[in-house]
Symmetry: C2
Subunit: 646 residues, 2 copies
C-alpha cells in the first residue's frame, strides 16, 4: 500500500518534469522554425517581413493552438479558499489536506477580478513565464551585446546628438504620450468606459515612459545588412540603446512617485524625489557597470603581463569575462539599481579596455559567445511576444485606448525627432538632413523593452490594459514599420552599401562639395570628447590595457616609480609605434584631420594619412564591429579558419 502511494507520487513527479520539457520543446520548435525561416528569407533576399516579425507570427500561431487545443484539467484551481488564521501571505505555505502535508510557494498577490476560468490551465500558466526571467535572463545578453559591439568611433563623433535624443527625447516622448493618453482616458471616463479613480495621470506617464523605449533589433538588423549610411546607423543605434536604459530607469522612477495626498495633484517634493531617484539610479548603475569592467580589465591585464598567461587558457579567460559581466548586472539588481543600465555600460567599457587584453582566441570566443546568446535571446523574446497574445490570461483590449496609444506614439515620436533635430542642426557642423529625420521618425519601433516593462506588473486593470495595448503596438510597429524599412530607405533615397571604414573620408569629401558652411562653431561634444580622449589615451588605456604609450611617458616625473610598476612590458616595445599616435593626438588629430579633408575636395595625401591613422586607431581600440551578425558571418565564412584536428 505504502509502496503504491510512493509509486503514484513518483509518477506525479515525473509528470511535472515532463511538463517542463514539453514547454521548452515548444520554444525550441518555434526557434528552429524561426531559424529555418531566417535562412529562407536570407536566401531569397526577402525583406518585407523581417525575421523578428516571422518569429512573432510563429509564436502567435502556437499560442492560438495552445489556447484552444489544451484544456483545463484542474477544476479546483479556480476556487478561492478562506483562511482566517493567517494575517499576511507567508513565502511558503504548508497545508494539511486529508492527512497529507503539501508545500505551496508564494507566487503573487492576485486581484479578485483576475480569478477567472483559465487560471487552472497548467499549460497556459507555464507558458506565460515569470517576468523576472525577461529581466534576469533574456534582456542582459541583448543589452550587453549592444554595448560590446558599439562602433565607438562613430558613436563618439555623434555623442552629443545621441545623448540629446536619448535623454531629452525620451523625456519629451514620455510626457507627450502621458498627456495624450490622459486626454483619451478622460474621454473614456466621459463615455463611461472607465471609472475615474482607476487611471491617474501618473499611470498615463507610466505608460508613456514604457512606450518610449524604442527597439534596436529589427530596423538595425536591416540597416546593417544593407550597410546603410554609417551616421544614420550610429544615430539610431545609439539612440535606441541608450533610450532603453533611460526608459527603464524612468519607468521605475515614475512607478515609485507617490504624492502624499491627491494622486492627481502635483506634489513638488515627490516629483523632485523621483528626479533625484532617476539621476541616482542612472549614475549608480553606470558606476557599477563600468567598475566591473575595469576589474575585468585589471585581472586580464595582470594575468597577461605581471603574473602569468591567463591567455594560454582562453576558456578560463572567456569564463571570467562572462561571469564578471553578468555579475555587474546582478550586483546592480541586488543593490537596488538597474541591472540593464549597468550591463550596457559594462559592455561598452569591456569593449574599450578588456577586449585589448584578451588573447586572439578569447577575442573570437567572447565575440561569438555573446553574438550567439544575443541571437537566441532575441528570438526567444519575439516568439514569446507572439505567444503572449493568446496565452496571457487577463488581456483587456479597449479600442479607444489602443487608438489613443497609436496616435500618442506617433505624435510623441514626431515631437521628439523633428524639434530636437532642428536644435541639434543649429550646433552640428554636419547637419542631420531631412531624409535622415524622416527615417528616424519611421524607425521608432517598439519591442522587447516596452513589452518587458509592461509585463512586469499586470495586476490592476489599468496595468492589464496597458500591457495589452503595448503588445499590440509592438505587433503593429514590427510588422508594418519593420517590413516597410527597405521600401522606405529607397523612397527617402538614403545611401546603402557603404563600407563603414571608408565612410569617414567619403563623407568628409562629399560634405566639402555640397555643404560649404565650414565656419560653424565646433560642436560641444567634440570639445568634451577631446578632453576625455586625451585623458583616456594617456592614463586609463596604459593602466588598464597594454596599448597606448607607457605611463612613464605620460605621468609627471615624480610618479615614475609607480608608473613603471603599472606598465606592461609590451607597452615599452610599442613606444616608438605609439610615439606618432601621441603626436597625432597632441596635434588635435580628430578635428584637424576632419577639417583639412573638408577643405580640399579630394586631398590625396591627407586622405591616405587619415585612412592610415583611423585604421590604426581601429586596431588599437579593438573595435569589434557592428551589432548584427550577418556581415560578420559572411566575412568570416570568406576566410575560413584552419580547424585543428586534435
Amino acid at each position: 500500500m505504502e509502496k503504491l502511494k510512493e509509486y503514484v507520487s513518483v509518477k506525479d513527479e515525473d509528470h511535472f518534469y515532463h511538463q517542463g520539457a514539453v514547454e521548452l520543446l515548444i520554444f525550441n520548435f518555434l526557434l528552429i522554425l524561426t531559424i529555418l525561416t531566417i535562412w529562407l528569407f536570407k536566401n531569397h533576399r526577402f525583406r518585407f517581413l523581417h525575421e523578428t516579425g516571422g518569429a512573432m507570427l510563429y509564436g502567435l500561431v502556437m499560442g492560438l493552438i495552445i489556447r484552444y487545443v489544451t484544456k483545463s484539467p484542474d477544476v479546483e484551481s479556480g476556487t478561492i479558499y478562506e483562511c482566517e488564521k493567517l494575517k499576511s501571505g507567508p513565502s511558503t505555505l504548508l497545508i494539511n489536506i486529508t492527512n497529507q502535508v503539501y508545500e505551496y510557494q508564494y507566487k503573487r498577490e492576485i486581484s479578485h477580478h483576475n480569478v477567472n476560468g483559465h487560471q487552472g490551465n497548467a499549460m497556459l500558466q507555464k507558458m506565460t513565464f515569470d517576468p523576472s526571467i525577461f529581466f534576469n535572463i533574456l534582456l542582459p545578453p541583448i543589452i550587453f551585446h549592444a554595448g560590446y559591439s558599439l562602433k565607438k568611433r562613430h558613436f563618439f563623433r555623434n555623442l552629443g546628438s545621441i545623448l540629446t535624443y536619448a535623454f531629452l527625447g525620451t523625456a519629451i516622448s514620455c510626457i507627450v504620450i502621458g498627456l495624450i493618453m490622459y486626454g483619451f482616458v478622460k474621454a473614456m471616463v466621459h463615455i463611461g468606459q472607465l471609472k475615474q479613480w482607476e487611471f491617474h495621470f501618473t499611470d498615463c506617464l507610466f505608460f508613456g515612459s514604457l512606450m518610449s523605449a524604442t527597439d534596436p533589433v529589427t530596423v538595425l538588423a536591416i540597416f546593417h545588412e544593407l550597410n546603410v549610411d554609417t551616421d544614420l546607423y550610429t544615430l539610431l543605434f545609439g539612440e535606441s540603446v541608450l533610450n532603453d536604459a533611460v526608459a527603464i530607469v524612468l519607468t521605475h522612477s515614475i512607478s515609485i512617485y507617490s504624492p502624499k495626498e491627491n494622486p492627481n495633484a502635483f506634489d513638488a517634493a515627490a516629483f523632485f524625489q523621483s528626479v533625484g531617484n532617476f539621476l541616482g539610479i542612472f549614475a549608480g548603475s553606470f558606476a557599477m557597470g563600468s567598475s566591473y569592467a575595469v576589474v575585468t580589465a585589471l585581472i586580464s591585464f595582470m594575468h597577461l603581463t605581471k603574473f602569468t598567461k591567463l591567455c594560454e587558457f582562453p576558456m578560463l579567460e572567456t569564463g571570467l569575462f562572462f561571469l564578471l559581466s553578468w555579475s555587474a548586472f546582478l550586483s546592480a539588481e541586488a543593490a537596488g539599481l538597474t541591472g540593464i543600465v549597468a550591463v550596457l555600460f559594462c559592455g561598452v567599457t569591456q569593449a574599450h579596455y578588456t577586449y585589448n587584453n584578451l588573447s586572439p582566441d578569447s577575442k573570437m570566443r567572447t565575440k561569438q559567445l555573446f553574438e550567439f546568446m544575443n541571437f537566441l535571446a532575441e528570438n526567444v523574446i519575439f516568439c514569446y511576444m507572439g505567444l503572449a497574445l493568446f496565452t496571457f490570461q487577463n488581456h483587456i483590449f479597449n479600442p479607444l485606448f489602443i487608438f489613443g496609444a497609436l496616435v500618442a506614439v506617433f505624435v510623441a515620436r514626431a515631437s521628439n525627432i523633428y524639434p530636437l533635430s532642428f536644435l541639434l542642426n543649429l550646433g552640428r557642423k554636419q547637419k542631420i538632413p531631412w531624409n535622415f529625420q524622416h527615417m528616424m521618425m519611421f524607425s521608432g519601433l517598439r519591442g522587447a523593452i516596452a513589452f518587458a516593462l509592461a509585463i512586469r506588473d499586470t495586476e490592476s486593470q489599468p496595468k492589464q490594459m496597458m500591457f495589452s495595448t503595448a503588445l499590440l503596438m509592438v505587433f503593429f510597429t514590427v510588422w508594418v514599420f519593420g517590413g516597410g524599412t527597405t521600401p522606405m530607405l529607397t523612397w527617402l533615397q538614403i545611401r546603402v552599401g557603404i563600407d563603414p571604414d571608408e565612410d569617414l573620408n567619403v563623407k568628409a569629401a562629399s560634405q566639402s562639395a555640397s555643404n560649404l558652411d565650414k565656419n560653424t562653431t565646433k560642436a560641444e561634444s567634440a570639445w568634451l570628447f577631446r578632453i576625455w580622449y586625451g585623458f583616456d589615451h594617456k592614463y586609463l588605456k596604459p593602466l588598464l590595457t597594454h596599448t597606448g604609450p607607457p605611463l612613464t611617458s605620460t605621468l609627471p616625473e615624480w610618479c615614475h616609480p609607480v608608473a613603471r610598476l603599472l606598465t606592461s612590458p609590451s607597452a615599452y616595445g610599442d613606444q616608438l609605434k605609439d610615439g606618432d599616435a601621441v603626436y597625432i593626438i597632441n596635434n588635435d588629430e580628430l578635428t584637424e584631420n576632419y577639417e583639412s579633408s573638408a577643405h580640399i575636395p579630394v586631398p590625396a595625401q591627407d586622405s591616405t594619412g587619415s585612412l592610415q591613422a583611423t585604421g590604426k586607431e581601429d586596431i588599437q581600440e579593438g573595435d569589434i564591429g557592428l551589432g548584427g551578425y550577418k556581415l560578420q558571418l559572411q566575412q568570416t565564412a570568406g576566410q575560413p579558419q584552419k580547424n585543428s584536428l586534435a
Copy 2:
C-alpha cells in the same frame, strides 16, 4: 491609500527580484573564485587538490556562511494549516487572507517529519534549487559534450570491453552494493537504529544503482592533461560515460519496480517488467537521440549541397545544431524516456555525421560553445554539491550506513573491474594489464550523476539518508582519489605524455616485442565493428555527409537514379581520393594493418602507410579531440587564429 498599497506591493516585488539576483551572484562569485583557483593551480602545476575538489570546497565554505549567518525571518512558514475543503493538492491555490487573494503554486508533498525550523529560511530555500534544474539544464551539456568529444577510433577499438564494463559492470556493482547495504540495514534494525519497515531490499538496490554511476570529470581531466596511455583513457572514459546512462535508466527502472504483495519478496512479473522497462527506455532513448542527430545531419547536408549555403551563416547553423540537440533531450523527457541517454547518443551521432557537414567556422563555434557550456555546468554542479552539505535542510547522517556505503562501494568496484577484466582478457588480443586494472579500480569516483539521482527524491527518511550518504561519498572520493590520481599513476608506472595519434603504431610495435601470442582469435567486437564500419562507410556516410564514396558507386545498379539525387556534388570530386579508402576497407584495413605491424617489429613502409590511412580517416571522420579543454586550448593558443576586425 490604494496608491500606498500599490507602492508596498511594488516594493515587495522588487524584493523578490533582488533575492534572485543575490543567489545568482553567490554562484557567480563561487565560479569566479573557482576559475581563479584553476588558473593558479595550472600555473603552479599543483595537482593534489583538483579544481573540482576546489569548487566543492568553496561551495562548502559558502554554505557554512549562508547557514549560520542568514536568519529565518518568516515565522509563519513553519506552521501547518488545516484545510478541510480540499481533497487533493491542486496545482494552484488561491487563498483569501484578510480580503487579499494570494496565489500559491504547488511545490511538493512534504512529510510531517520534514517540517522543521529551517523551512522558513528563504535564503536557504532558494539556494537549494529544484532537482529538475540539474536534469534539464546542467547535466545535458556535460553529457552531450562527452558524446560529442568521444575519440571514436579508440572507442570502437575497445567497444566490447567498454560495453561489458558499462552494462554488466554496472549491474554487478548495483547488486553488490544493494546486498551489502541490505546487510548493514539488517544490522541497523538489529541494534535499533532503524525500523524494519522503512528500508526494503528495493531501496537498497535503488541506492546501489545510483551509487554505481561513476564520474567522468575529475580523473579524466587529469588523465587528459597528462596525456595518459590512450587505451586506459578510452576504457575509463567510455565506461564512465556509458555507465552514467545505464545507471540513470537502472535507477528509474528500480524505482518503478513495485511487487504487488510483500515488498521484500521477489515478484517475477514485476521484475521482468522492470527489465523490459530498462531495455525499452534505453533503446527508445538511443533511437530518439540518434534520429535527432540524423535530422540535423540531413538539414545541414541539404543546406550545404542541394539548396543553398547555410554554412554562409554559421550563426544559424550553430543555432540549429544547438537547438536540435537540446530538442533530442527534451523530446526524450517529454516521451517518458531518459533525456540524458538520448543526448549522449545524439552527441556521438552529431560528431560522426553532422560535424562533417558544418562549415569550418561552425565546427569551431559548436566545439567552443559546447566546451564552454560543459565547463560552466561542471563547475556549477561541483560548487552546488559543496553548498548542499550545509544548505540542504533534511540531512540524516547515520555513521553505520555511511560506513556500510564506503565498504559497499569498494567491494562493488572491485567485483566489477577485476572479474570482468579477467574475462575480457580471455578474448582480447591486447590484454588489459594489472596496472590498468588497479588504476580503473582507483578511478571509481562518484560525482554529479550520483548526486543528481539522489537529490531527485528526498522525501522519505530512507531517501534522505541515502542522499546524505551519497553526498559524503562524493566528497570523499573526489578529494581523496581525485587528489591521489597523479601519485597513483606514478606508483603504478603508467605511461604519460603520449601523443594519441601515434599511439596506435607505437603500441602495436611494442606489443609485437613483448606479447607474442598472435594467434588468439579475433575479438567479437572487431568483427561486429567491421560490419558496422562497412555499412556506415558505404551507405550512411554518403547519405548524411559529403565525405566517403558517392552512393552511385556503393549502391546496386537499379538504385542509381535515387543515389544520384542523394549524393553531394562534392563527393564526386573526391571519388578518386576515396577510391583507395574503399580499397583499404575492402582489404580489411583495420585488422590487416594492425596484424601486419604486430608481426614485424618496426615495419617502416607499412607503418607509414597505416599512419597515412589513420590520419586520413581522422579527417574524414571529423574526429574532434578528447573531452578536456586544456590540451585543446594550449594547442589553439599556439596557433592563434587571425582575428578579423570588422
